[in-house]
Amino acid sequence: MSVTAPPRAPGTPPVRSGRTLRVGPVSASLRWREVALPVVGFAALVLVSAVSMGRGDFPIGVPDVLRTLVGLGEGPQEFIVLELRAPRVVVGVLVGLALGVAGALFQTFARNPLASPDTLGLTTGASAGAVAAIVLTGDTATGAVLGGLGIPTAALLGAAVAGLLLFALAWRAGLDGYRLVLVGIALWSVGNALIDWLLTRAEIYDATSAYVWITGSLNSRTWDHAVPLAIALAVLVPLALAASRVLAALQFGDDTARGLGVRLAGAQTAVVLLAVGLVAFAVSAAGPVTFVALVVPQIAVRLTRGSRPPLLASGLLGALLVVSADLVTRTVLPQALPVGILTAVIGAPYLLWLLVRGRRRSTL
């Protein structure tokens, strides 16, 4: 997993860097792919979401759905779209957005395409919290407290604890990408051991519902799930986008970043905590929808042909992936599987390809 880009062979043309946009003292280089991808991704996302809200026992056409969404709908259609189907799709969009951005943050920071909330143990921590809330309810004093919190809050706490542990244990005079990944693997196995143990203590119906939860599902999500997530993203995503310039420096390695004037410790802390926060809220709303955070930034970086995963485009593609996968599980598959299984089936072969292929070329 080479960190630095290979030296360009003499004779090959330099990468076209696009236009430079200057507004007063601020300048940014503008490359059309980096602008086009979010626009196309957003358009596709709106379309797929509308299709998804239209499908069901009472089919509604895409134009009608769009009309309802902008406030021109009437009667039963308005109720079905806005109250029954929209929450599910909105949660899907927000979860995908959060996971895509968090994945891009982690991968840029660790300079490793395999760093994702799944391999770092964050989603496992969230799962352990949620399973504890499902399984231990009323059993003991702690169980009663956890059960009273509700599953989303317990998951949020689990992810936060895992994130803080990851941060504290991997911190040693700064954060190192490899150490972060390896500590994450250890946390991942501890989290799994806890989940396995909790499942043996559960009644079988609790164990089954816990299992559905830890697969990642959008079933029976309401506005109550969507609103906290939306508020969290409204804070965290702009912060992440603001950190974009720091990320651009971090991708070159610690020494270079320091040389470029980045205050390393503060920047690393901010990036990791932002990513942990995004993952925690996303997982608490829908469970760990696996592989999204891993796959999407890698697809986005290939589509933009940039030097690192673009944040906004990764977020939009993540939303697109989750909503599309949910649409497929609801309409195409004979049995309504949780959405997390489909994202795993799409993502896992890609992950293996990345492993076999990744080290021959310098990815990222």
């Binding site: 395999l114 490899y178 250890a186 299992y211 299984i341 795993a344 492993l355 292929r357 080290r359």
Partner: protein, 351 residues
């Protein structure tokens, strides 16, 4: 990092050969005492505590029909024997894995063995309807083999071969994939989940003597192969070129090592379910006492593995009375901090 593990370093502080030998013999004796102590504790401690005197009587007098004697002979002794076998296997397998990959983070639980076994067992339960541990043994075995081979193939594909980081990542990634498949099956199959959830924690409970007899031969064969592999492993530690120059057939040593690892890990996982971190922790502790010579390291790792597994099992029985904490859970909770300490200690530049 890899080179600091296996290559013997000669520095001024190194004791002369004779005192090293005395130290190794002392280590061996100490480990034997530990194993015997752990085994006795494992027989005596439980939901019903039995005094060591009664244990002794029950073991000596086969006709004694008191309640204690029956518990000792039919429950505690098979369980302890299985624990000894599995601990022995995992300790040696860990030392072999770390030696062959020159990877201080080598552990069957992290390198795809247990994930492969898990998927195979889920398939066996859900498709074929086999629920008892003794039926699942063979599937766990096949799955463990497939998992090991896949992780090594993926981890060493491409330029540069297998490094500690790529192997650990390949193991984590493949495990994530295999567990995703396991989940896909279990989400819609409540009956399979019911059996699987008690297998996957890694436990010595509820395994009869028949399981020990089933996996015993494989572990014995694995032990023989592992010990035969030790001198070759010492040479391989000097680097493949040097080993080849000294007349070692590299491929033979590798094949024997892989066979031994698969036999030992597969049999252990088949018998008890996935047990992580034991194979990781044990060789590091032993290496500090015996030095890097695999002729001593392998047997001592086996003994310490057996002692630790039995101790973890006893702890699990004591802390969660009247139920018990499964040995796999205890070891994960104890072993993960050790792993993290190791990751923090080694210079990451070497990864």
């Amino acid at each position: 990092m890899a080179t600091t593990v296996d290559v013997p370093t000669r520095d001024a502080a190194r004791p002369p050969a004779r005192s090293m030998r005395a130290r190794r013999l002392a280590t061996l004796a100490l480990l034997l005492v530990l194993v015997v102590g752990a085994a006795l504790a494992s027989i005596a401690v439980g939901t019903r505590s039995i005094g060591l005197g009664d244990v002794w009587q029950a073991l000596l007098d086969g006709d004694l029909a008191s309640e204690e004697a029956v518990i000792v002979r039919q429950l505690r002794v098979p369980r302890t024997a299985l624990g000894l076998l599995v601990g022995l296997a995992l300790g040696i397998a860990g030392a072999l894995m770390q030696g062959h990959t020159r990877n201080p983070l080598g552990d069957p639980g992290l390198l795809g063995v247990t994930a492969g076994a898990s998927l195979a067992v889920v398939l066996a339960i859900s498709v074929l309807g086999l629920t008892s541990p003794s039926d699942n043994v063979w599937f766990a075995f096949a799955g463990a083999l497939a998992g090991t081979v896949l992780v090594y193939a993926i981890g060493s594909a491409g330029r540069g071969g297998a490094t500690p980081l790529t192997l650990a990542l390949a193991g984590a990634a493949l495990s994530a994939l295999l567990y995703a498949l396991v989940r896909a099956i279990l989400v819609s199959d409540e009956q399979t989940l019911e059996s699987f959830r008690f297998w996957v924690v890694g436990s010595l409970a509820g395994r009869g003597a028949d399981v020990a007899w089933q996996v015993g031969p494989f572990i014995a064969l694995g032990l023989v192969l592992a010990l035969a592999n030790a001198p070759a492993l010492n040479l391989l530690g000097l680097g493949e070129d040097v080993a080849r120059g000294l007349g070692q057939r590299i491929w033979l040593a590798r094949v024997v090592g892989l066979a031994a690892i698969t036999l030992l890990c597969g049999a252990a996982t088949a018998a008890c379910g996935p047990i992580a971190f034991l194979g990781l922790v044990v060789p590091h502790m032993v290496r500090a006492l015996t030095g890097p010579d695999h002729r001593w390291l392998l047997p001592c790792s086996g003994l310490l593995g057996a002692a630790l597994l039995l101790a973890a099992d006893v702890i699990g029985r004591v802390v969660a009375r009247p139920g018990e904490l499964q040995v796999g859970i205890v070891l994960a909770l104890v072993g993960a901090p050790f792993f993290i300490a190791l990751v923090r200690r080694v210079r990451t530049a070497g990864l």
